[in-house]
């Protein structure tokens, strides 16, 4: 099929549009014949909703999976991971092994989380076990740090208890649902500041799972010194690392934007903590990303017209354990600094190279296996076909002497068995 790719978007961001234009693609509107639509999450809801009866043809590609919210809504992500763990436990997989305290050895990467108001009583039980702990309340459907607050007293969330006790439970509108998670009060601090990691992960298909990790992730630092002191619980500049919030702090700097590259982080950790623990940390980060994708793979609508680029938010605690905080379906494409703009431009560029091979009109039936040369700054994170095919180590970035080695190889075996049962 000759002709240039016709693109549509409802997100007016230069990093996107410049990438389309440099490929010589033609901009069209939604109502015309289009091949590539980079849509916002609201739009994808409409496209795949039952009422509109939208049918995508073979030469049309979109940038979201229809039910991405299984991974990207905070409550559903937790639900899917919990379900995944229980399944592995039921089939006796070594992955689901627990320690003497009942904590999962390899799958404990999400902080203890409950849905409110549904799990209110369960939460209270847990809260009473460690009453001096701090918890973070997050609205399920919002982003950019909106509506988040911290609590350390039950009285601060009385509202939800009242609702759950007095009203017979009718399905709440999803906008009012919250998740409450154990707040990681011992985050790893650098220069006395809290930070989190933003990593980009591209998924081209869920079954078989094929995902890529962008090598150039970054750390987002809070502008104010971290203090676990209770008086600062309300100061969102101390606790939330979202740039949308930090941007309004007094000390926000527009040159570096409070961001560090992941390679800076690596250099710092290797220099101050040693090479082994740093490699182990990064291996674990890859591990939890792959596990989270495996957890939602069975429930994902693996529509062949779709690919998706997720923004993973990860926090590292002071024992160098990584925690998955959330996954974003629509990572921000706004650039806060010059470096940022370059990074996001390249991110989209490499994403398009993988999702739309050769920049030509796509055929959604293709095998979604791009040649190595087009990966750009992406690296294969996990390729299920390859992992099953020759049993070779594709799961984690191959590095001699990785400390997840023995555990990793064991998991690959059981991973394969796990997948065959799903199939």
């Amino acid at each position: 099929m000759a002709g240039k790719v016709k693109w549509v978007t409802d997100i007016e961001k230069s990093v996107l549009i410049n990438n389309f234009e440099k490929r010589g693609w033609i901009q069209v509107t939604e109502n015309e014949d289009w091949n590539f639509y980079w849509m916002s999450v609201q739009t994808i809801r409409n496209v795949f909703s039952v009422e509109t009866g939208y049918r995508l043809s073979d030469d049309q590609i979109v940038n979201h999976f229809p039910n991405h919210y299984e991974l990207t809504r905070k409550d559903l992500m937790v639900k899917n991971i919990k379900r995944y763990r229980k399944e592995l436990e039921k089939e006796g997989s070594p992955l689901a092994e627990k320690d003497e305290n009942g904590k999962y050895l390899y799958l404990d990467f999400v902080p203890v989380t409950y849905m409110l108001p549904a799990d209110y009583n369960l939460f209270v039980e847990e809260f009473r076990k460690s009453p001096s702990s701090t918890w973070i309340m997050k609205p399920c459907g919002k982003a950019q740090g909106k509506g988040i607050f911290l609590i350390n007293k039950l009285s601060q969330i009385k509202k939800w208890s009242r609702d759950s006790k007095t009203s017979s439970f009718v399905s709440q509108s999803s906008k009012e649902a919250y998740v409450i998670s154990l707040y990681i009060s011992n985050p790893l601090l650098i220069g006395g500041r809290k930070f989190d990691l933003r990593l980009y992960v591209l998924v081209s298909t869920y079954r078989p799972l094929r995902c890529y990790m962008y090598k150039l992730g970054f750390c987002r630092f809070c502008t104010v010194k971290y203090t676990p002191s209770t008086s600062e619980l309300d100061n969102m500049f101390v606790h939330l690392t979202n740039v949308a919030i930090q941007k309004h702090g007094d000390d926000y700097n527009h040159i570096h934007g409070g961001k560090w590259t992941v390679s800076n982080l690596r250099l710092y950790l290797e220099s101050t903590r040693g090479k082994e623990v740093t490699s182990k940390l990064f291996d674990e980060i890859h591990w939890i990303i792959v596990q989270s994708l495996k957890a939602v793979a069975p429930v994902m609508n693996n529509d062949k017209h779709c690919f998706e680029c997720y923004g993973y938010d990860i926090i590292i605690d002071d024992r160098l354990k990584p925690w998955l905080i959330e996954v974003n379906a629509s990572p921000s494409l706004t650039s806060s600094t010059a470096n940022d703009r370059i990074l996001k431009y390249n991110l989209i560029n490499d994403t398009l190279n993988i999702a739309v091979p050769n920049g030509e009109i796509p055929d959604c039936k293709w095998n979604k296996s791009p040649p190595k040369e087009v990966l750009g700054n992406y690296e294969i994170l996990y390729d299920e076909e390859l992992a099953q095919g020759d049993g070779a180590d594709r799961e984690l970035r191959s590095r001699p002497g990785q400390s997840l080695g023995p555990k990793g190889s064991r998991s690959r075996d059981s991973g394969r068995t796990g997948l065959t049962t799903w199939k």
């Binding site: 500041r193 010194k225 700097n253 570096h256 250099l267 220099s271 101050t272 090479k275």
Partner: protein
Amino acid sequence: MLQEESDLSLIIAHIVQKLKGSSLYAQLERQAWTSLQRPEIKLESLKEDIKKFFKISGWEKKLQNAVYSELSVFPLPSHPAAPPEHLKEPLVYMRKAQGSWEKRILKSLNSMCTELSIPLARKRPVGEQKELLNKWNEMGTDEPDLSLFRPVYAPKDFLEVLINLRNPNYENGDSLSFRTHLGLIQVPLKVKDIPELKESFVELSLNTGQLGIDDSTQVPPELFENEHVRIGQKVLEEQDSAAAQQYIRQGSPTALRAELWTLILNISSQPEDILYYEQLKTNVIQHDLLVDSLIYKDVKLTASNDDYYFVFEDYLYQVLLCFSRDTSVLSHFAYNSASPPKSYIRGKLGLEEYAVFYPPNGVIPFHGFSMYVAPLCFLYHEPSKLYQIFREMYVRFFFRLHSISSHPSGIVSLCLLFETLLQTYLPQLFYHLREIGAQPLRISFKWMVRAFSGYLATDQLLLLWDRILGYNSLEILAVLAAAVFAFRAVNLMEVTSLAAAEAVLADLSTLKVMPLLQIFLFATVT
């Protein structure tokens, strides 16, 4: 033979005298006393037994490291009758130039002080002291009004002084010859050429493995990296300063770097060192100095805006404010051509009994000074350790980058070395840049004064500083500067103005230091 012997005994006497005053001496004495209780120490062979004990327990190694440290840092008097000024700087005209430069700086500082009606020093009221103590870990969030403060001087002001340096005993003649130096520096100091540099930096040659080259992902680690790491661990186990210095010439593995630098600089974190740092912190809390504002301003202008170092802003204050008050730094002026500025207690101008050094450590910070500390924050996160390492780096190396002297690692020699290398080995480029009014030194000066901090990516910078420690010399800065020009020569030949040349050389963050150095020294046709 006799001359050498008397030189040696002079050296020994000098070192013994220095070490007797150190805490190591007290520790050794204490160890010797307690060792008397050991069964193997017998009265008849007391001396031998104690010496044996020291050898086995590692104390002899510590002593060895201390002696080695002294030899590296302190230049030894070349002649017993040489006056102390010669230790600072043997050439009179250089001493004079440094003296008048210092007068200018002090005048600038004093006039700022008068204009702003701020005292050079004042005691803080108790309330302010408490506040500062509470904020000690986050001084970066303080936003004092610094708009009226200007840095006392910037590197380019210093460059102008160096350009005007002349040796009154040297007559160049007006006629141009092939020997005429076309650069900005016009003093006749001896600098090395490439054959001599190849000899000095023999461990950087093409046949020797290097970190920064042979540890890249394409090279299998069995070829060099694994063995090198293994040797590094062994060096650390042995705790041998001299071996560490030799080892690090091929670069340091990231995980071992912090410890290796500690060993080479002979820093031991004894309780008294931590106590000393705490004492300095107390001094900061109790008294406010004018230079504090200069430090704040410098950090805000430089490190706070840097992609790599902004995270460590607060550590920089904690180190630099203490540094200004550290009088032990004054001892380095014995071998620094500079002298600490003197100030007088109010109302007692000119009366020597009321003279104090200002700031207490005698070092007035200039624009970019905080960048000497910033890279170290990637290695040390414990404030007193970070402080000790920085102080030692300063009194061994950094001070030479902003004082006028004839020392081969002094900034004057570095500038001359840079220009000579360029003129000799890249004459076409040098001539072209000169013709368009873009003297190369005008661009590279700021790199060298800052030891490339803030210009290179941090991992590359640390590989460069590995070699500074390994060779105990700053000459590598000049070689790297020339290598950068050589690397970008093609683009530079096309430019037609100073601004365009600056633009070509504005961004060094993607450069890989070791390949550049290796190619320039060992693979260029000379």
